[in-house]
């Protein structure tokens, strides 16, 4: 990693914004599963003890209670480690939240491989896949504190289910502090015509660093931050395919069913171009920190750069063959 700026835990922007919103809107409640510490809800709990509902270690009940609170007019932010929230309570998320169109905000804390050395039981590298097959859930994976802040504000005001995929792994500031997140719209972070790198969450800043390395090789990469996985910005993807002819996706998620799959579904049906999907390669990760594992799986800036160089090379060979 070659980042020189200071790094931020996006949970801080999450809870700060949640408390600001809760002070203005008395319907906002927080629901957790003995996760006050890991969700950083201690401040919320001390301000509004009656609006912090801790159901203990019981995720099925956690999500059901969230749906019931929504029925009673509340805006519940259901906060739990993403692995347990989405895995253990998947049927409640499907039936009680998505199918019932309940106004529940599912906050997957420490998603991806944030729990690092704790291993695959605690990794949540399936949650994009599980959430995005359920109709009607807005899925957001913010890349920095400003996007996190804006995403929380969106979740409060959006009438319907939201899955907010948060990490605890430090990321640099990418956006201005007044950045306005736009649901279903990719952010063009850097323009280029040779290939497009699409990333979100903890991978966006790595994609930016990779684009700088590619530039040194004479390859101009476009970088799109795809903060919303569902609804997906198909227009930006088709445009990227048309204008740059090659796409790399990067995510802290399995290569199956997540951001890369979402982008590929658009690309193959609208504008087929060579693609490379970077992520966790269909294995239970070995022991290591999130950043170590991301590097291992080819998502250090150097790894992404190499994948880009290779993909652009293939594109040129392919064109010559025509």
């Amino acid at each position: 990693m070659s980042t020189t700026t200071s790094l931020h835990d996006c949970r801080d922007a999450f809870v700060t914004t949640l408390q600001e919103e809760a002070s203005r809107n008395s319907q906002i409640v927080a629901v957790c599963n003995d996760s006050i510490g890991s969700s950083k809800l201690a401040g919320f709990a001390s301000h509004w003890p009656e609006r912090l509902i801790n159901v203990g270690i019981a995720e099925q009940n956690l999500v059901g209670v969230g749906a019931g609170l929504a029925n009673g007019g509340k805006i519940p932010f259901v906060c739990a480690a993403s692995c347990f929230l989405t895995g253990r309570a998947l049927e409640q998320i499907k039936a009680d939240v998505a199918y019932s169109q309940a106004n529940v905000k599912l906050c997957g804390i420490s998603s991806g491989m944030a729990y690092g050395e704790l291993g695959p039981t605690h990794h949540s590298i399936e949650d994009f896949a599980w959430m995005r097959v359920l109709p009607g859930i807005v899925i957001i994976a913010p890349a920095d504190p400003a996007e996190t802040r804006s995403a929380v504000q969106f979740a409060v005001n959006h009438a319907g289910p939201v899955f907010l995929r948060l990490s605890r792994v430090g990321v640099p500031e990418l956006f201005d502090t007044d950045h306005a997140f736009s649901v279903g719209k990719a952010d063009l972070l850097q323009d280029g015509g040779d290939l497009t790198i699409i990333a979100n969450g903890t991978l966006t800043h790595r994609a930016m660093d990779a684009a700088k390395l590619l530039e040194k090789l004479g390859i101009q990469a476009r970088v799109l931050n795809m903060g919303t996985v569902s609804p997906l910005d198909t227009e930006a993807i088709v445009k990227a395919a048309e204008q740059t002819g090659a796409i790399i996706t990067c995510e802290e998620h399995s290569v199956y069913g997540g951001l890369g799959s979402s982008v590929a579904e658009v690309v193959v049906q609208h504008q087929p171009v060579p693609m490379k999907i970077l992520g966790v390669p269909g294995i239970f990760a070995p022991t290591g920190s999130a950043n170590f594992l991301l590097d291992e799986f080819g998502m250090a800036p150097e790894g992404i750069c190499e994948a880009g160089r290779h993909l652009v090379g293939n594109k040129l060979v392919g064109n010559k063959g025509k």
Binding site: I53, G64, G68, K94
Partner: protein, 273 residues
């Protein structure tokens, strides 16, 4: 509504349910017959609901956690005036609002989409908690099947309800002692149900689930215990009201043939004064 009127209403709902299932050629008639007296006493005696304003914020909430008996809920809601009885004719037809399991988005009076067992009680806990936080006085009723209590999520919710002192929450267990494939006692025994809830910190009582007076008295707010949720074990029979269905496991989702339909209809009509 007085007891006699409630009985008449329940018989009418049974008849409508029988007709609806027979017409559709599918349904869960056994568990519907066991639940209809409970539904009738709730919707025509206890629940403060307004069919012309089904989303009124201060309404009492009812959740049919045993969502496979949707037809019993639909017929009850129709007779209570939430929608026209003619809509029942569309039950299970292509694009009908009346799916095999209830959908709150499509059917007035349905609070949440059920069908996966063990979901109703956690949602009920959330609804009751919302009332407590807001200082509102609406009550929450959840109807569970007895076999459904084999789902662990119910016990997560049972713990939380007692811990949160949700005395505005009542769970009614439709204790017909039969599940889809066999007797509960031959599958994964749940008895004693009241004692289990009691051990979790609930106020409990056991009633005859086909006795309107007992049901109404048990549902009365004055029967609740301050600081404790209430569990009412309603002893019922699958197929209640139709002789050849009563307490027979095969009527979980069997559909009557023409002769059986005529006989069942005659039995229910004779009951109606």
């Amino acid at each position: 509504m007085e007891v006699h009127d409630l009985q008449e209403t329940a018989r009418r709902i049974r008849l409508l349910d029988l007709e609806t299932v027979y017409r559709a050629g599918a349904g869960h008639i056994g568990g519907e017959m066991s639940a209809i007296d409970i539904l009738t006493s709730l919707y025509f005696h206890t629940l403060r609901v307004d069919p012309s304003h089904p989303d009124k914020p201060e309404r009492d909430r009812f959740i049919l956690s045993k969502g496979h008996t949707a037809c019993a809920l639909y017929t009850t809601l129709a007779v209570r005036g939430f929608f026209k009885e003619e809509l029942l004719q569309s039950f299970l037809q292509p694009y009908s609002a009346l799916n095999g399991h209830p959908n709150r988005v499509k059917v007035a009076g349905v609070e949440t989409n059920t069908g996966c067992l063990g979901h109703g009680l956690p949602i009920g806990v959330g609804m009751a908690k919302a009332a407590k936080i807001s200082g509102e006085h609406w009550r929450v009723f959840v109807l569970c099947g007895d076999g459904e209590l084999q789902e662990g999520s119910n016990w997560e919710a049972a713990m939380a309800a007692a811990h949160f002192k949700l005395d505005n929450l009542t769970v009614i267990v439709d204790n017909n002692r039969l599940q889809q494939g066999a007797r509960v006692s031959d599958t994964n025994e749940l008895a004693p149900i009241a004692e289990k809830f009691s051990a979790f910190g609930w106020a409990t009582c056991v009633v005859d689930g086909h006795d309107m007076k007992q049901l109404c008295d048990a549902f009365d707010a004055r029967a609740t215990t301050a600081g404790q949720p209430t569990c009412i074990v309603a002893n019922t029979f699958k197929g209640q009201g139709i002789s050849f269905m009563k307490d027979r496991v095969e009527w979980h989702h069997k559909v009557p043939d023409k002769d059986q339909y005529e006989q069942a209809r005659q039995e229910l009509e004779e009951l109606i004064a």
